[in-house]
């Protein structure tokens, strides 16, 4: 009888690695057009870098066929956990493949530690409450700047990437929320801990989640809104996984924007005469099933010509940043984005737009490094350029 450490949060997913997966390799390609979908497998090619190979790694480690050593790090951590395999796989365990990989990482962290540099995610948080090592902001300055109350119906959870790396996205969102008259405030944030969860370094997660929940409570808000797909996914899925108690609803800014448009409360007045292609962020698309909402918003922008990349929606090619890859394998992360930009270029679009600051970061890095000369913009940044009519 296999014995798995009971203290592991991902124990049930490690167990799942056994009587599931026949290695039919259906996970390797998208079933729609037999397109490439696995950044890790395509780059590193050996079977151990594909989803079915990782499942076998779990088996090997737990059965004692494989020994713990640093050679395991790349096969375990060089994966963006984009979840394309979840959509491709047709077996009963399909929905849990990313959970299995995260559980494998949790196990690996205990034995050999995370991939190189990924431990910085935790050590930086311990110092500054965010993985960017930026001085922690309690967002009071922003509250003053945007004249926000201490308590409100909504709280905008900015997220570390928006707050410290994609401030234009943050500010575009703040301006939008002000423009449309949402009663919102800001809070003192700790990292949502998505990067830590994806890399198996989960020890600080529950505390940080509880901290954020308390801060939200302090604002009196019953609705949390975020413009980050990663934070959104963490709040909506991982909070339950970690068993933390909370009493609020969670929205992505695009859900709010869509609702206001559908209800006729706002209208886009000015034009945006560009050809735009939408990159589905993994944490919003595959992980949370949101594909059409952003598209419907783009289509409501006058003058905007929305074109689709070949791999879109549930088989969108990952931007390459997630799963700890941006910090653990920075060069490869940008290479993955390069492939995405090549695909974007093929559509004739001049703008590649997404709804996640992390995608925006990585796509921008690839855009600059490889001189694609595209505009990389979040949907909120596009909306920020528009005149909005607010209908009472």
């Amino acid at each position: 009888m296999l014995e798995i450490d009971n203290s592991l949060m991902g124990k049930e997913f490690l167990e799942m690695a056994f009587d599931n997966c026949i290695k039919c390799s259906t996970c390797k390609y998208g079933y729609k057009n037999f397109e490439k979908i696995c950044p890790s497998g395509e780059k590193f090619i050996f079977e151990s870098y594909w989803p079915s190979g990782r499942i076998r790694t779990i088996r090997g480690l737990l059965l004692g066929d494989l020994e713990w050593n640093d050679e395991l790090k790349d096969p375990i951590f060089a994966c963006t956990t984009c979840g394309a395999c979840i959509d491709a796989c047709q077996a009963p365990h399909a929905n849990y493949i990313v959970d299995m990989i995260e559980a494998l990482r949790e196990l690996a962290v205990k034995h050999i530690g995370p991939a190189e540099s990924q431990e910085l995610l935790v050590s930086r948080c311990e110092e500054t409450c965010n993985p960017y090592n930026e001085p922690n902001s309690n967002n009071e300055d922003l509250k003053k700047k945007y004249d926000l109350p201490d308590k409100a119906e909504w709280v905008y959870y900015i997220g570390c990437t928006s707050n410290y790396r994609q401030q234009n996205l943050r500010d575009s969102t703040l301006r939008f929320l002000k423009k449309v008259g949402i009663n919102f405030t800001l809070m003192d944030e700790h990292c949502c801990t998505s990067p830590m969860i994806r890399t198996g370094q989960i020890d600080i997660s529950k505390d940080y989640m509880n901290y954020n929940i308390q801060q939200i409570k302090n604002t009196g808000a019953k609705k949390v809104i975020t413009s980050c797909a990663g934070c959104y996914r963490t709040f909506k899925k991982d909070f339950d996984k970690f068993g933390v108690d909370y009493d609020f609803e969670v929205y992505h800014t695009i859900e709010l924007a869509k609702k206001l448009l559908d209800e006729g409360k706002i209208k886009f007045k000015s034009e945006y005469n560009k050809t735009v292609t939408y990159h589905d962020p993994c944490h919003l698309g595959r992980h949370m099933g949101i594909y059409e909402i952003p598209r419907e918003i783009y289509k409501k922008i006058p003058g905007l010509n929305l074109v689709e990349m070949k791999r879109n929606r549930n088989f969108a090619w990952c931007c390459g940043a997630g799963g700890g890859v941006k910090i653990g394998y920075p060069e490869w992360a940008v290479e993955v984005s390069k492939e995405r930009l090549e695909e974007a270029k093929e559509t004739g679009a001049t703008v590649i737009s997404s709804t996640c600051p992390f995608c925006r970061t990585n796509l921008s890095d690839a855009n600059d490094k490889y001189n694609f000369d595209m505009e990389v913009l979040d949907l909120m940044e596009i909306i920020d350029q528009l005149e909005i009519e607010f209908v009472n």
Partner: protein
């Protein structure tokens, strides 16, 4: 919402499939809810199957119950012909290729039976979707 039993025999599986696509339809709910009838489907060459409507539940029982309210006897080919619009139920009855018992003059019973069974089969047959991958994902 209507709940449908998870069966294991072929005919029940087919009926479950047919009904499942309408599970969120208001009209389907209205017709099934508290209909409380037993309908026997006797498919030639196969075996009789009793479909039990009880409250908000649809259940299946292999065999022909003695207290069936409605009995429909036909071949699988005729079923497909009706579902795909090649055969009209009335003319099929006229030709004797379907036998329907238990309706009498009860028009309400007839309407509900028609809506629950025939409309469902027609909708299933006319579903343009052949992408089984997505159905498989939903059911997993």
């Amino acid at each position: 919402m209507i709940s449908i039993q998870d069966p294991e025999d072929l005919l029940s599986i087919a009926l479950r499939n047919i009904f499942s696509s309408r599970i969120e339809e208001k009209e389907f709910y209205t017709n099934v809810h508290n209909w409380n009838k037993k309908v026997v489907l006797d498919i030639k060459s196969f075996y009789p199957l009793t479909v039990i409507f009880e409250g908000d539940e649809i259940k299946f029982e292999r065999g022909e119950v003695k207290d069936a309210d409605i009995i429909l006897r036909l071949s699988l080919q005729t079923l497909l012909d009706i579902a795909n619009g090649r055969e009209d139920p009335l003319s099929a009855a006229g030709k004797g290729i379907i036998k329907l018992e238990g309706l009498g003059n009860d028009s309400e019973k007839l309407v509900k039976f028609y809506n629950i069974f025939l409309v469902s089969m027609q909708k299933a047959a006319n579903n343009p979707n052949i992408n089984y991958y997505e159905l498989n994902k939903k059911t997993k």
